[in-house]
């Protein structure tokens, strides 16, 4: 059966905080708006146990914050579909196409807010300990490890920044890195390594994560010494890079070498009427508040584009 074509003002691809904020703004501006989310509405933040850096809330669970923004967006008329997966998009022409499993959408404007995925550890048992000892957000979850033994895996600037942040909680902090030298800049390294609670384990791979209900031990392999050993610890923060979710758009939009969609503060991409917002666009700071800010800008810019 041929798919039904649907015409609307705006499609927002990605229902994280950026996409939901854009939907809220677009809905209030009376744009017919649909958010398409492939995974979880709310994105990465939905897993956060406690958010303490979003203005207006002393402390709120990620899922509760998402629910509030989602309700706000829906109240103003935006539709959210988290079950109809996108098959392909065509963004290069004035007539833009977003084809899902069920429909062919022809929106006047598109906002891409698909965010980033933290590169995962290549450990099959990782899911068992996700948020139960294995974490991807030190800002969100670091406070759970006051006076505990924790480790950061990774050797770049982001990993070292995470380690520096976590030293204010940990009684002992390991930095686990598979290469023979950290790749973070020297100053960043010095700032972290001078702290007496920090110990760097170079040439070291994580072979296995173990524990009864929560993470208790890592099985490590020292490549230089060629020996495997157990490291007891309470938490592991993974910072081995991020991957922007842009594969679907790479044929239509200019991306940088890391895969981020090239767009400035106005969220405009190289294609008229297509905006990139939130973590997925080229930018320096990626926080919940900047995600919401990008959603705002992108929706206002889309409205301006549609109005013209």
């Amino acid at each position: 059966m041929e798919k039904q074509h649907k015409y609307l003002d705006l499609i927002i691809i990605g229902g994280g905080v950026t996409g939901l904020t854009a939907a809220l703004y677009a809905g209030r501006m009376k744009l017919s708006t649909l958010v398409l989310e492939a995974d979880l509405v709310g994105g990465q933040i939905v897993n956060a146990h406690e958010i303490e850096n979003y203005p207006g809330f002393a402390s709120i669970k990620g899922s509760a914050l998402v629910e509030k923004i989602q309700q706000q967006a829906e109240f103003f008329g935006a539709a959210i579909d988290e079950f109809d997966n996108i098959l392909k998009v065509k963004l290069t022409d004035e007539k833009k196409i977003v084809e899902t499993e069920s429909f062919i959408y022809e929106p006047k404007s598109v906002i891409i807010a698909t965010g980033m995925t933290r590169r995962k550890l290549a450990l099959p048992e990782e899911n068992l300990f996700l948020s139960k000892g294995i974490h991807y957000c030190e800002l969100c979850d670091g406070h759970m490890y006051q006076d505990k033994i924790i480790a950061v895996v990774g050797g770049g600037n982001a990993a070292l920044d995470a380690a520096k942040f976590l030293t204010k909680y940990a009684k002992k902090l390991y930095i686990i890195h598979r290469s023979s030298a950290l790749t973070a800049d020297v100053l960043t390294q010095e700032n972290v390594i001078k702290n007496p609670i920090v110990e760097v384990l170079l040439n070291t791979e994580i072979r296995k994560a173990e524990g009864k209900n929560v993470l208790e031990t890592l099985q490590l392999y020292d490549k230089k010494e060629e020996k495997e050993y157990a490291l007891p610890l309470d938490g592991l923060f993974v910072d081995i890079g991020v991957v922007p979710n842009t594969a679907m758009f790479a044929q239509d939009l200019l991306c940088d070498s890391a895969g981020n969609i090239i767009a400035g503060e106005d969220c405009k991409t190289n294609e008229a009427g297509v905006f990139a917002a939130g973590d997925v666009r080229t930018k320096v700071i990626r926080q919940l508040t900047t995600a919401a800010a990008d959603g705002t800008v992108a929706a206002l810019m889309a409205e301006k584009y549609i109005g013209n």
Partner: protein, 76 residues
């Protein structure tokens, strides 16, 4: 009756339940965090503690949210 093994505050469990509601599929939920019995049943079905698990007969099951697999399991 469709059975969903889940834990509270689990976003993928919520997504499975939301999908079943959308498709008007009646289900019974088993919280494996509160019930040893449910946890044992889950282990018998999947051999693991990962949730959500959706099943009808206790033999064929779907782990996490996978629309295509759920559709196949439930004949949607």
């Amino acid at each position: 009756m469709v059975k969903v093994y889940s834990i509270p505050n689990c976003p993928w469990c919520e997504k499975v339940k939301k999908y079943l509601k959308l498709k008007n599929v009646a289900y019974e939920e088993f919280n494996v965090e509160d019930s040893d019995e449910a946890r044992d049943e889950l282990y018998k079905i999947s051999g693991d503690q990962i949730v959500p698990v959706t099943t009808i007969d206790g033999k064929n099951y779907v782990v996490s949210f996978d629309k295509a697999k759920l559709d196949a399991l439930l004949g949607l």
